[in-house]
Amino acid sequence: MLRFDRRLIYDFDWVMVLFLLLVSGMALVNLFSSTWNGGPDPSPIFFKQLYILLFGYVLILILVTFDYKELVPLGYILYGVVILLLIYTGLFVHTIAGTQRWINLGFFHLQPSEPAKLAVVLVLAAYYSNHGTEDGYRLRDIVQPGILTAVPFVLIMMQPDLGTALMLGILFVSMTLFVKLRWSTISILGTAGIGVAFIGWKFLLKDYQRRRIETFLNPEGDPMNHGYQIMQSKIAVGSGQVFGKGFLEGTQGHLHFLPERHTDFAFSVWAEEWGFVGSVFFLGCYFFLLLWGINIAMTARDKFGVLLAFGLVMLIFWQAVINLFMIMGFLPVVGIPLPLFSYGGSSLLTTLISIGILMNIRMRRYQIKT
């Protein structure tokens, strides 16, 4: 019989648990409001998200039981499975709203691009921790992680899901800049990156994707579409003022002026109903959670732990920043959710798994002789 390791309790990351509960609690409160249809009962969407959340908590409890070094082979397996699923969606899944993103599992619509982000973080962390360097990586040293990122990147671009694909790119850049690079490598990559962006704009982007960016640069030109969404979001946020309009009292959300109000624009609803005070409280909790993740990276016992923790924090952080920037009118409409806060099972599970792994790293920060 497996002996229960007491350290699972003594070293348990209660700080993370506290902030996880705070943030996901606020998310549930907000989901209740954004999907509320005037009656006394929450909508079915609310319960769906609640069950996934509870399932995710259980998953966290399982994830902390084994040492995270086991994740190296698991990461490669996950990576392989994700690539297969992405190919599968590209080939066999019917188009929904012009894109092919979801695989119907009967009880759950899986969006394989979400675990793809997690898989990329895992394999990059594994690669860089295995291939140490004294005086920085040269260009050829990062060809392999580049390919590891590029394969799912291209597959997701083809769906097409620009936002998620870009997330992979951002994760690759963040993690590669995190490890030691030679200056020559950085300058070559920078030049190449600008070139790719230019070619991508010219040839690879779909019309609607290009229009979104154009709209952002010139919002007056397209008042009823994407500019309209951003405008309505800014109105929702701004009209919350200091203390907000109150729970269930947001007019922008409940009168349907806000688009996607329980998914991508969930935070607009929160900002409208809870105002500056509520928004800063939420962001405070959220960023404390992220900084705690950085703290986990700084106290990890080995390179893999540091890289993995850092990568996972970046995974959550960049999605949050892009989402919030969009909501506050700094960025065009990109379909990136606010992790833990927006409605969506795949994203929530991925984020909870990330947090589970972070807790795992935290709990095993001391070298233990065995």
Binding site: R7, V237, Q241, V242, S279, M328, Y366
Partner: protein, 657 residues
């Protein structure tokens, strides 16, 4: 007991052991063990700075949006969700002097589209068109016409639709986003087209009127008075708009009622007009199928009892906008239905002007009531001959006879003795040649010439022969029927010239009196009582003596005093020897009759002009008689009332003037 505690303690010790081990382990980890791990941890620390930076950016952005710009965005959110609908107030009602309704309102239903809420939805417009039974292009045209206006102003798609269509639209609201039924009061004319020129009509406000009005009072599509009292008293009649504030969702469906401001109805108008008499006047004119004007006034106050212009306007044609074709037809009509002939029609006064010449002669002392002139049928001035209408001549006539028989030669004498300027002075005393100031639109002043006027106008000196023409009311002389009526009233009441009044009272919706009619004296003929009595005698004779020209106005039981007139439109030799009926309509003479009654104690003055009616005695006098008959109904002697109304025998023996 002790045992258990011991055991527990042991268990706790065991449990604590890894903690102790951990402390030991910690010393085993040297930060410099692995240079790269150390490098990573420094990087992680600097990434925390990046995180905090982004947190600061987000919080300051929130500060900017929610605190600095919060009021503005709150306003924008309210603009998003709050729609107001203007509620058009019922326009003021119009009553006659007896308190009978002339114009009131009824509810009508319009279909309006708010563009903000629906965008332009083809599907919905098609559905709407089929409900209304119209082509989509009609609706699109209406939308196109409003394209330049701000988006929050709704567009009227259809007006005054039936009840069943209203019910159908209300039942299918969910399929018709942005469509609303608007209840708007609409004018209803209880007396049909009677008094149409005085009342006027409503029409959609035009660009010019919109710009001239104060902000917020009107907006495109509103109905405003375009003519008559509806226009002159627009400010009193229109009332104040109300507003209903609704909360709407992004699709434009109303979610809840927020608040409302009740509209304030317009002020009610009571006219001095008596619709019974007005009806008689207009019906009599219509029965003759003639263009012209009928004016009746209370001689002792200036209250207008009748102000009719024929042909009448068809008011119903104007409701909801008149078609271009109908408008053009009215402009081209030789009887000029759009002109209110009461105050806008200017005609030579002809023989009715002899009343002025007579008074001027007496007042200036050039004649006395007993002055006799001999009429051989013509008058010679220099080497020109001026004819009397009766070529055989009237023989020796005094002033009363001359007025009764309308002897031209007598007044040629008087005119020559007076000169043009003295004549004009007394015409001015009667209010001729200037506007009366009545509450009607576009009043004309008429024209009473003087020597100085001719010099100014034509740069030519006055000819003495022209004075003769003026003395019998031809030539340059022009008067409106209203002016002539006020002059007649002045003769009747002994010299007080009143300003004609049309409005008895104006009351606001709570019944408070805003304005009340008061007689307004605009001129007085002082010291002329005796002279005016002589003139009244001449007018009595004109109607009641055997040779009088106005005999067709006689009434049994009431003494009518009057004066006929036949105004030449053109003096053309080619018509000289034609039978009158063969002269083309537009060259026929205008017929005048002006009178008052009862002669002994005058109450009412009536003036009738029949355009191209040819003879005052035959065409105009019967109309005046019909009005008088209606006015004195009950005071007349029943027996032997001769049916003269339509007979043209008496007055029209020859050019009976």
């Amino acid at each position: 007991m002790k045992n258990i505690r011991k055991r527990r303690k042991k268990r706790e010790d065991q449990a604590r052991r890894p903690v102790l081990n951990r402390d030991v382990d910690m010393t085993l980890i040297s930060p410099h063990d692995d240079a790269e791990l150390d490098f990573f941890k420094k990087r992680a620390l600097s990434s925390a700075v990046v995180l905090i930076f982004f947190f600061a950016v987000l919080v300051s952005r929130l500060w900017y949006l929610q605190i600095q710009q919060g009021d503005r965005y709150r306003q924008m959110a309210d603009n998003n969700r709050v729609r107001y609908v203007e509620v058009v107030p019922p326009r003021g009602n119009i009553f006659d002097c007896k308190g009978r309704e002339i114009v009131t309102n009824r509810p009508s239903f319009n279909v309006v589209l708010s563009r903000e809420d629906s965008g332009l939805n083809d599907e919905m417009l098609k559905k709407m068109a089929s409900i209304l039974g119209e082509d989509v292009s009609v609706l699109l045209e209406r939308i196109r016409k409003m394209a330049g206006t701000p988006g929050h102003i709704p567009i009227r798609l259809a007006e005054d639709i039936d009840w069943d269509k209203v019910a159908f639209i209300e039942n299918n609201r969910l399929e018709l986003p942005g469509i609303r039924i608007e209840v708007v009061p609409r004018r209803i004319y209880h007396y049909g087209n009677l008094a149409s020129h005085i009342i006027g009509y409503l029409g959609e406000i035009n660009e010019r009127e919109l710009q001239a009005s104060a902000a917020g009072v009107y907006r495109g599509g509103d109905l405003v008075g375009k003519m008559g009292l509806e226009r002159l008293l627009e400010k009193d009649l229109r009332g104040e708009k109300g507003r209903e504030y609704m909360e709407v969702n992004a699709l434009g469906f109303e979610q809840k009622y927020l608040k409302g401001i009740e509209p304030l109805p317009g002020d009610d108008l009571k006219l001095t007009i008596n619709m019974d008499l007005q009806r008689v006047a207009e019906d009599t004119m219509a029965a003759q199928d003639k263009a012209g004007a009928v004016v009746a006034v209370e001689v002792n106050s200036g209250r207008l009892l009748v102000a009719a212009s024929a042909p009448a306007l068809k008011l119903d044609e104007f409701v909801g906008g008149i078609s271009y074709k109908a408008w053009q037809a009215m402009l081209d009509n030789p009887r000029h239905p759009l002109v209110n002939k009461v105050d806008q029609g200017q005609y030579p006064p002809a023989s009715t002007y002899k009343l002025v010449t007579a008074l001027a002669g007496l007042a200036a002392g050039v004649i006395t009531p007993d002055t006799v002139f001999y009429c051989p049928g013509y008058y010679r001035l220099g080497n020109r001959i001026y004819h009397c209408w009766k070529h055989a001549g009237h023989g020796a006539v005094n002033l009363v006879q001359a007025l009764a028989q309308s002897c031209d030669v007598y007044f040629y004498h008087v005119g020559q003795l007076l000169g043009v300027d003295r004549l004009a002075f007394y015409a001015g005393k009667f209010g001729l040649g200037r506007k009366t100031g009545v509450e009607m639109q576009g009043e004309k002043p008429g024209l009473i010439p003087t020597a100085a006027w001719k010099m100014r106008r034509y740069k030519k000196p006055w000819q003495e022969g022209e004075t003769l023409t003026i003395a019998i009311g031809q030539g340059f002389d022009l008067v409106t029927p209203l002016q002539l009526c006020m002059m007649t009233a002045t003769i009747a009441n002994g010299g007080t010239l009143y300003k004609p009044g049309l409005i008895e009272s104006i009351r606001d919706p709570s019944g408070r009196l805003v304005e009340q009619f008061e007689p307004h004296v605009s001129g007085r003929l002082t010291g002329q009582a005796a002279n005016l009595k002589i003139i009244r005698e001449g007018m009595i004779e004109a109607v009641n003596s055997r040779h009088g020209t106005g005999r067709s106005a006689r009434l049994k039981g009431i003494t009518v005093a009057g004066k006929t007139g036949t105004a030449q439109v053109v003096r053309l030799r080619q018509f000289k020897h034609m039978r009158e009926e063969d002269v083309p309509y537009k060259y026929r003479d205008h017929a005048w009759f002006t009178c008052f009654a009862p002669a002994e104690n005058p109450e009412i003055a009536v003036t009738v002009l029949v355009e191209h009616g040819m003879h005052g005695g035959s065409a105009a006098a019967p109309v005046a008689r019909a009005v008088l008959q209606a006015y004195f109904k009950g005071r007349l002697k029943k027996a032997g009332n001769p049916a003269l109304v339509m007979s043209s025998g008496r007055g029209g023996r020859s050019r009976a003037d």
